[in-house]
Subunit: 344 residues, 2 copies
C-alpha cells in the first residue's frame, strides 16, 4: 500500500469542496403500478437516454423541479449547517443550468465551473435532469439523463481551491463517464498533494458493478480517507454478504468508513473508534431522495468541526431525517437549529 | 344594456376552457426584511422586466420551480376534481415552456397552443416566470416576468373548442398586454355566440386601475356571466368602499358574482340567491399563492355540475385551503376525496 506523503495541513479556506453531477430533479408522485408498467427498478437509479427521458416524462404526472445531484445536495446541507463549501460540476448554458447554478450559489456555495455552450443544431447536450417517481411510501425511483454532466473536463478542476479545502468530496456516480473520471483523478492528486482528506461516496451498486476495481485500487493505494456507502454498496464493494464482516474488512484500509442502513440506522468507524446510531424518528416519510446525501452532509460537518464519531453520526441522522420528511433532496428546515443540541 | 342573444346551449364536450398566462413559478422562502430591502410590495403582484428579474433572482434564496399562472392553476384544480378542461396560453419553445406544457397536459388538461420559437439573437422572449417570495406567515409577493405570454395571438383562440365548453374562463392579468386582450375579446364573442357562459377573474387591483373601464363596459354590455374578485378588487371595480354595498351594486348586472375575503371567507350571489361560507380551517398556512385560483376551481366545478350556490362556495373554500397548506399553486392532495362530502 503506497500512500502519497501528506504535507502538513495548512489553514483551510474551505471546509468541503465537492465534484458531482449538476442535476435538476423533476419529481412527481407515482403509484407502484406506474413504476412497474414503465419497467423501472423501484428504488433504483438508472441512466437514461434522450428517447427514454421523453417516454418517462410523458408518462409522469404534474411535477416540480428542485435542484439535486448527490454531492451538490450534500454541500447544500453542509452550507446550511454553516460550513464553507465549493462545488465543481457541469451545467449547460440553458434554463435548467441557470436554475441549478442559482440554487447552489444562493445557498452560499462557491460555484465557478463555466456553463457548457448549447447549440441545439450541433446536438450539444442540455443540463442534466433526473426524473424521480416518488411512491406513496416515500421510496424514490430515479431516472437520470446526464446531459452536460458527462463532459465535465479535467480543466474544470481548480487545484488551488481543492488544496484550500479540508475535505475533497467525490460522488461515485460521476466516476462512470470518462472525462469527469479523469477530472476526479486529478482532484484526488491535488488534494493528497496538499495533505487534505479525500472523501468518496459509492453512490449506487451499479457504479460498483462497473468500476469496483477502480475503487478497490484507490482504497488499496490509500487514496480514500473517508468512505460513504449504504449496506448494499458495502456488500458490492467488499464482496462480503455479512454487514459486520464487510465493515470489518475495511479496517486498516480506509481511516473512516460510514455505512447507512436506512431505518436501521448507521455505523461508522474512525481509526480504532466505532459508533452506531439509530435512525432519527420521522413523523411521515414523504420522499427518500437525498437521504444518503444529507447523512453525509451532517457527518462531514461534524468531522470538519472535530466532533466525536458518535456526534458525527447523530448529525448525519438528523439531516437525513429532515430531507426525507418533504419533497426534494435539498434541506428546507433550519438544519442549524435542528442540530444545535448535538454535543461536539 | 345590450346582450348577445344566447343560442340554446348544446351538450358540452368541455366543462371549462381558460385563457391565461403560461407561467412557471420560482418560489423561495423570504423574510420581510428582504422583501423590504428589494423594494417589493408585500403581498402584491408586480410586472418586471429582464433586468429586474435578474436582480431579484440573484437576491432570492434556493428555490423550487412549480408550474403556475392564475387560470392554469384554476384548471389544474378543476381537472383534479374531474372536470374536462382545455387551456390556451403562450409558452416559448424552451425548457420552462416544456415544463409548463408537461404539467398542464399530465394533469389531463388539453393544451394545443403552439410554442413560440426562441431565437436568442433575435431577442425572442422566453417562457414567463414568476419570482415568488414566500413570507414566514405564508404571504406571497409575486414578481412576474411575462416573456412569451404577452404575445398570445388572437389566432391561438380555438373558437370550436370555446363553443364546446360550458364556461370560458378568462384571467384579468392577461387583459394587460395588447395581443392577448384581442385574443380574449375574440374568445368572448365565440363563447357568447355559442350560448356559453363567460367567467372572468379580476386578478389584481393594478389590472383594474389600468383596465377598469374595459371591465365595466363588458359588464354593462352583459358580456360577463360569472365574476370572480377579492374584496379589494371589488372595491376597485365598483368604486364603493363598503363591501356589502359594493357587492349589491353588481346585482342585476352580472348573473353570478363570487368575492373572496381571505380568512374571512367568501360571499356570492347567483340570480336572487345569496350565500356566504367561512374559510376552511388550515393547520398551518405555508404559501397563499393560488388561493383565489383554487377557490375559483372549486366554485366552477360545483357550478358546472349544477350544485347549490352554498355548495359551490364550500368547494371553493376546500380547494383554497388545500393549496395554501403547501408550497405551490397547484393542488397536491386528492381534491376529489377532500370534496367528496360536499352535498350537491
Amino acid at each position: 500500500m503506497t500512500t502519497v506523503p501528506k504535507a502538513p495541513a495548512s489553514a483551510a479556506a474551505l471546509d468541503v469542496i465537492a465534484i458531482g453531477n449538476a442535476i435538476v430533479d423533476v419529481m412527481a408522485p407515482a403509484d407502484d403500478a406506474l413504476i412497474e408498467r414503465l419497467g423501472m427498478a423501484r428504488g433504483g437509479m438508472t441512466l437514461i437516454d434522450t428517447a427514454r427521458a421523453h417516454e418517462l416524462y410523458a408518462a409522469m404526472g404534474p411535477a416540480r423541479e428542485i435542484s439535486g445531484g448527490s454531492a451538490a445536495n450534500t454541500l447544500a446541507g453542509l452550507a446550511a449547517l454553516g460550513a464553507k463549501c465549493a462545488f465543481i460540476g457541469q451545467v449547460a448554458d440553458d434554463q435548467l443550468g441557470e436554475v441549478f447554478a442559482h440554487d447552489i450559489r444562493s445557498g452560499g456555495i462557491a460555484f465557478a465551473t463555466p456553463s457548457r455552450p448549447v447549440n441545439a443544431q450541433a446536438g450539444d447536450p442540455p443540463t442534466a435532469r433526473c426524473l424521480i417517481f416518488v411512491s406513496p411510501d416515500g421510496q424514490r425511483t430515479m431516472n437520470t439523463y446526464l446531459g452536460a454532466c458527462q463532459f465535465l473536463p479535467p480543466a474544470a478542476v481548480d487545484e488551488d481551491a481543492i488544496a484550500s479545502a479540508r475535505v475533497l468530496y467525490l460522488e461515485g456516480y460521476l466516476w462512470d463517464p470518462e472525462e469527469p473520471r479523469q477530472a476526479m483523478r486529478r482532484a484526488i492528486a491535488a488534494a493528497r498533494g496538499a495533505g487534505r482528506e479525500v472523501a468518496f461516496t459509492l453512490s449506487d451498486s451499479f457504479v460498483i458493478a462497473r468500476h469496483g476495481d477502480d475503487f478497490r485500487a484507490l482504497i488499496a493505494d490509500g487514496q480514500i480517507d473517508i468512505l460513504f456507502a449504504n449496506e448494499h454498496e458495502l456488500a458490492a464493494l467488499t464482496g462480503v454478504e455479512d454487514f459486520h464482516e464487510g465493515l470489518a474488512s475495511l479496517h486498516g484500509k480506509v481511516p473512516t468508513v460510514v455505512v447507512t442502513r436506512g431505518e436501521k440506522g448507521a455505523h461508522a468507524f474512525r481509526g480504532g473508534e466505532h459508533a452506531v446510531v439509530p435512525a432519527e424518528p420521522v413523523t411521515r416519510v414523504i420522499d427518500t431522495t437525498g437521504a444518503g446525501d444529507l447523512f453525509a452532509a451532517g457527518f462531514l460537518f461534524g468531522h470538519v468541526r472535530g466532533a466525536s464519531l458518535e456526534a458525527c453520526l447523530k448529525l448525519g441522522a438528523i439531516c437525513a431525517a429532515e430531507v426525507i420528511s418533504h419533497y426534494g433532496a435539498r434541506p428546507e428546515a433550519d438544519l442549524k437549529a435542528l442540530c444545535a443540541a448535538v454535543p461536539g
